[in-house]
Amino acid sequence: MNRTTVDRERLGLNTELVTVNMGPQHPATHGVLRIVLTLDGEVVVSARPDVGYLHRGIEKICETMTLHQAIPYTDRMDYLAPVVNNLGLAMAVEKLVDFQITEKCRVMRVVCMELGRLSSHLLWLATAGLDIGAGTVYFYAFTGRERIMDLFERMSGARFTVSYGRIGGLARDWEAGIERDILKVMDLTKDAISEVDKLLTRNKIWCDRNQNVGPISAEDAIDLGLSGPNLRAAGVEWDIRKAYPYLGYDRYDFEIPVGEHGDCYDRYLVRMEEMRQSIRIVEQALKEYDPSGPLFPTDPASQKVFLPRKDRVLTKMEELIHQFIVATEGPKTERGKEIYFSIEATKGELGFYLVGSGTNVAHRCHFRSPCFVNLQALPVMVEGQMVADVVATVASLDPVLGEVDR
């Protein structure tokens, strides 16, 4: 679709294509994303996303250290939902070493995953609104996100880079009564979402700026490897939580929101509905939460994977020796064993490809980051659109440059 309206040849205007760099310091690019735009007037002829400004070599760093040590590095990938990355890597390693987590740990992980998704989507809502000019949304969404950050602070001790996942379990137990506070926060988050819903969904300005902006067809979306809300907005019902259930997601009653036009407005609607479904999952999971159960398995065979209890380390010789062995040598991976484990992260399919080396260091670590793959759909979405729509489209794609570059 070409929206050029001026017939230049008839008017005899002398025009030429202009190449413009949007970014890497542009405030609306959500990080250090550079887009090389070729413009014909205000119409985008071609767009080329240029990534790599935040490349830290996290995959290679993770190959130089034990899998346990790699967990804080995953915080710095998708830094809007760090807990999802932590738990994703922990679950991938558990698959590599054949480890079964306990029921209580599973429930806690589901709640953390969905809280991470909520905090990430709320931040997306705030910044996407701000990019288009809806400044009020920013404050309401951030207030909602702040409450979730407080919960993470109480769970893990850090608001943002939580490093909460551990191979075999979680870093620490929840304090007593936190589940009631989580439910309270969920109620307040519902209010925040419905408030933003009232502000935006039937707002003519929001509709004008988002509808039919940055559209992508379902075929193109699949061809380009899109995943997550961006794929679902194009009309493909694909969610790894349903397709390949992990953490017992198949037990929970939730629905996959699907759009039909694949434009920015559908991506907005899909994410709004996903937040509501996440709250439903959290409420269902907390019903199953039993604080008296064990966080780590108690069978002797699995003790070589996670650190022993601290009170026993301080008093018992055997656990003290265990502490040293587990911290330096465990969990042992099988040499040459390859696994691929993917979860439905907030932005799409977050995959972990690990190759065992016979020690507790992975021979090869590869993270399939959804944002990197999603970003390659940007040229298809914006070509033929106006420059101002590029900002709206980048915002609706929800790229996190920490994850794109890794």
């Binding site: 250290m65 346990h68 040590q69 790699a70 967990i71 804080p72 590095y73 009020t136 207030t143 702040e146 409450r147 602070e153 109480r154 893990s156 001790g157 850090a158 880079t161 490093s163 379990g169 979680l170 870093a171 620490r172 137990d173 304090e175 408030e195 009232k198 502000l199 969904t201 039937r202 707002n203 003519k204 300005i205 929001w206 509709c207 509808q211 629905e255 996959i256 929101p257 699907v258 759009g259 036009h261 407005y265 559908d266 609607l269 899909v270 509905e273 064990p294 966080l295 780590f296 650190l307 209890r309 601290k310 009170d311 380390v313 301080l314 003290l320 502490q323 040293f324 911290a327 330096t328």
Partner: protein, 167 residues
């Protein structure tokens, strides 16, 4: 489940209802202004949870010596390799003590692994978060600085006693 795109009525298409509704929602927040989420930092500080992961410090034992036995497990586990320990022998019962114990706070990521693996609870993440400095070399804390920071009273009462560990 298909998300449905709302059909706007002619009145909604005039832009006015969106503006009026937006104003109404903003005005409805004025009574809630007492329950604000922001704080006037640094005059007002927020209550940190007891498990808050701030700056790592070294703890002193009851005998007045540092608790650290220089086992170097924290040096091994530290993901950004921020800890450096030089061990020496001592006539004390623990036989080994750190001659030098440096933590580069410019590298530290506050993950808490050192506290988690320490077999004698000698290193602890305290509720301190204001460590900005104009010079990076000042951010390398040596043993004496870490012990002095450990002796300072915590922001929160009751931080000295060890936390409950996961079951």
């Amino acid at each position: 489940m298909k998300v449905t795109r709302p059909k706007l009525s002619w009145w909604e298409r005039t832009y006015f209802p969106a503006i009026l509704k937006g104003l109404a929602i903003t005005l409805s927040h004025i009574p809630k202004i007492k329950k604000r989420v922001t704080l006037e930092y640094p005059e007002v500080r927020w209550a940190l949870p007891p498990q808050y992961r701030g700056a790592p410090i070294l703890l002193t034992g009851l005998d007045g010596n540092e608790k650290c036995t220089s086992c170097k497990l924290c040096e091994f586990i530290c993901p950004p390799r921020a800890i450096r320990i030089v061990a020496e022998e001592t006539s004390l019962e623990k036989e080994k003590r750190p001659k030098e114990f440096d933590i580069d706070m410019g590298l530290c990521i506050f993950c808490g692994y050192c506290q988690e693996v320490c077999p004698v609870e000698a290193i602890w993440l305290k509720d301190e978060y204001e460590m900005a400095d104009y010079d990076r070399t000042n951010l390398i804390f040596n043993k004496e600085q870490l012990l002095a920071r450990g002796r300072k009273p915590p922001y929160l009462p009751g931080r000295e006693k060890p936390l409950e560990e996961p079951k």
